[in-house]
Amino acid sequence: MSIFYLIVFPGFISLFLFSLLCEYIDRKVTARLQSRVGPPFYQPWADFIKLISKESLVPTMADRKRFTAIPIFGIAAVVTAFIYIPLWSTKSPFPFTGDIVVVIYLLSLPTLLLFLAGWHSTNVFGTIGATRGITQLFGYEVPFLLALLSPALVTGIWSLSGILNYQVEHTWFIAYLPLSFIVAIISLGGKLERIPFDIPHAAQEIAGGPFTEYSGARLALMHLMLDMELFAGSALIAALFLGGFDYIGVMPGLAGSVVGFVVFLIKTLIVLFILICIKAAFARIKIDQVINMSLKWLAPMALIQLLITVGLKFAGVL
């Protein structure tokens, strides 16, 4: 049964399909926001297959094994992170207390791997992209952790299933922590290097950044890693703030879990839609502005929200 969980359902294959569906929705809705038509639904699959069939080069200075291992390692990290998120009921396949910290750590692993990829490619653009990726990590990681850990801090429950239980009984966390919901989405945009925080692989300044030297199958895996991270990140935010599978009349049994999963997907797409609106509305900002903004605006917002909620909780209002 755990093999099924690992490989098929919340594991690799389902995440693979969902992430490509996610990329399609991302490109189609961005296109419609920019008043153009946008690609057909099978475009991400076509890109993936095309890239797989293309020749994949490795720079001579780089170590071939490590160069190939980076994207595979990244995908493994994101898939394991996705398994710990409870999708259809309060229980995820392998629940344990403290799995929220594991999920957050596994989601920030790809950025470190991008740094390695950039460094390995010994290409001018690669090195600059790698250093930018790490500097940006210091920028958004602080508000990201603050925002995502505030539900656990407020309620004192350190397991995802516990938090979901709390949300089923009380209202969703977005009612208690609206500000940290916003901060979480913005810093998730930073983690996934989406448009306002697109600095590590800014196509116009350093063509491709860490991806410059990747081609063929390795590049396909890199893009897959980013899409999976996109889907897993928005799923995590949906689970933590929008009450995962929870809806009004929760039906028990198999039908209940199927409907629960569909509700969970809709909430993930809502989070994704907000990310897409941010991507379509803004230009790319500079690296010092990212750190300046996140430490001057995002982190204080998350902190203030946390203090307010904890204060209200002690005052017995919540």
Partner: protein
């Protein structure tokens, strides 16, 4: 311990690069700050000035609008006027009105293309796509009036090659109304966008004295506070009969240049409306007979293209082909004398923003 020479990274701001167009520059970089920028132009050098010495005047009129790809009409206007000044030709009133209308439409086209390219370079994909959609409206007008989308091939010595139809006048007023609406959209979506302002404010700042010394003209100079506009100072065609004001700003940084260009679109729209309102009838061309005209003399004609002061120095010695044509391209100065000066001390992320805030077209620079 002997002094170890720190090897700075040289980053190519490459010729095949989404931000630089056909222009190559090497950046000497220390961390994120740029120490030195060494331009390498020449990727679009087709040697127009030499080619024009082998061709007859009508052929040059068609050839010269390839010199500046983003604002082709200003080149045709410059060359035709320079030749007419030598020949002392007098263009009929309607021909001059049509030329001014097409020149202003070319300015609007160039400024909208500039909005598209600048936002693409700032990573602002939505504004780039929308600007590229709006540009089609002007290209459609070009198609109706001249038969070609980007290269009008519309001017000849002595006036304009075709008359503009009633349909063109209606289509233009419709397009101008649409573009005026789009301008208010660009206001709240691009020019008042927080990330756009963050990327453009206090970037690539130059004072009025430096701008003059480096040879800046057009919106780059007017953003530093100097109201030099060839349409006002050395009026040509029908500009004395049209009221419009020259837009200047004080700060002189990239954001001021953008707002200058944005206001110039509004000015051009009002100019074209005035011209369309009192467009006279009558001939639009001076008939020169079958043979090629031969000229003797020299003339220096300046006009205000979208990028700045564009001048044509034509020397002809009596043969049907011009003896020497020198095109004074505004982008030549923007890219090779202002850009290295402004790039010194900025960061890598600023380089594309500065380069395209100067609105320098590589084709216009290399000629």
């Amino acid at each position: 311990m002997e002094e170890r020479e720190i090897a700075f990274l040289t980053v190519p701001f490459g010729p095949q690069h989404p931000a630089s167009g056909h222009f190559h520059a090497l950046l000497k970089v220390d961390g994120e700050t740029v120490l030195e920028l060494e331009p390498h132009p020449g990727y679009l050098h087709r040697g127009f000035e030499k080619l024009m010495e082998y061709r007859v005047h009508p052929q040059n009129c068609v050839l010269v609008d390839r010199a500046d790809v983003l604002d082709p009409f200003s080149c045709e206007l410059g060359y035709a006027n320079a030749i007419e000044k030598i020949a002392g030709l007098e263009i009929p009133e309607r021909g001059r009105y049509i030329r001014t209308i097409m020149a202003e439409l070319g300015r609007i086209l160039s400024h909208i293309t500039w909005i598209g390219v600048l936002s693409m370079v700032l990573g602002f994909d939505s504004a780039n796509k929308i600007a590229w959609g709006d540009r089609e409206k002007i290209l459609r007008l070009n198609e109706i009036a001249t038969g070609g989308r980007l290269y009008p091939c519309y001017l000849c010595i002595g006036g304009v090659r075709r008359d503009i139809s009633r349909e063109f006048v209606d289509e233009t007023s419709k397009a101008l109304d649409y573009l005026e609406g789009q301008l208010s959209f660009y206001d709240y979506f691009v020019f008042k966008n927080e990330t756009f302002v963050m990327r453009m404010e206090k970037v690539g700042r130059m004072s009025a004295k430096e701008a003059i010394d480096l040879g800046a003209t057009g919106p780059n100079l007017r953003a530093c506070g100097i109201d030099y506009d060839v349409r006002k100072d050395e009026p040509y065609e029908v500009y004395p009969k049209v009221e419009f004001n020259v837009i200047t700003r004080e700060e002189g940084d990239a954001y001021a240049r953008s707002l200058c260009r944005r206001d110039e679109i509004a000015e051009s729209i009002s100019i074209v409306r005035q011209l369309l309102k009192n467009l006279p009838d009558g001939p639009y061309r001076v008939e020169l007979g079958p043979g090629c005209i031969t000229l003797e003399g020299e003339s220096y004609f300046c006009l205000e293209s979208a990028r700045g002061e564009k001048c044509f120095h034509v020397v002809s010695d009596g043969s049907p082909c011009p003896y020497r044509v020198k095109i004074r391209a505004p982008s030549f100065l923007h890219t090779l004398s202002e850009f290295p000066y402004l790039a010194r001390g900025s960061t890598i992320a600023d380089i594309p923003a500065i380069y395209w805030s100067l609105d320098s077209c590589p084709a216009d620079m290399d000629r």
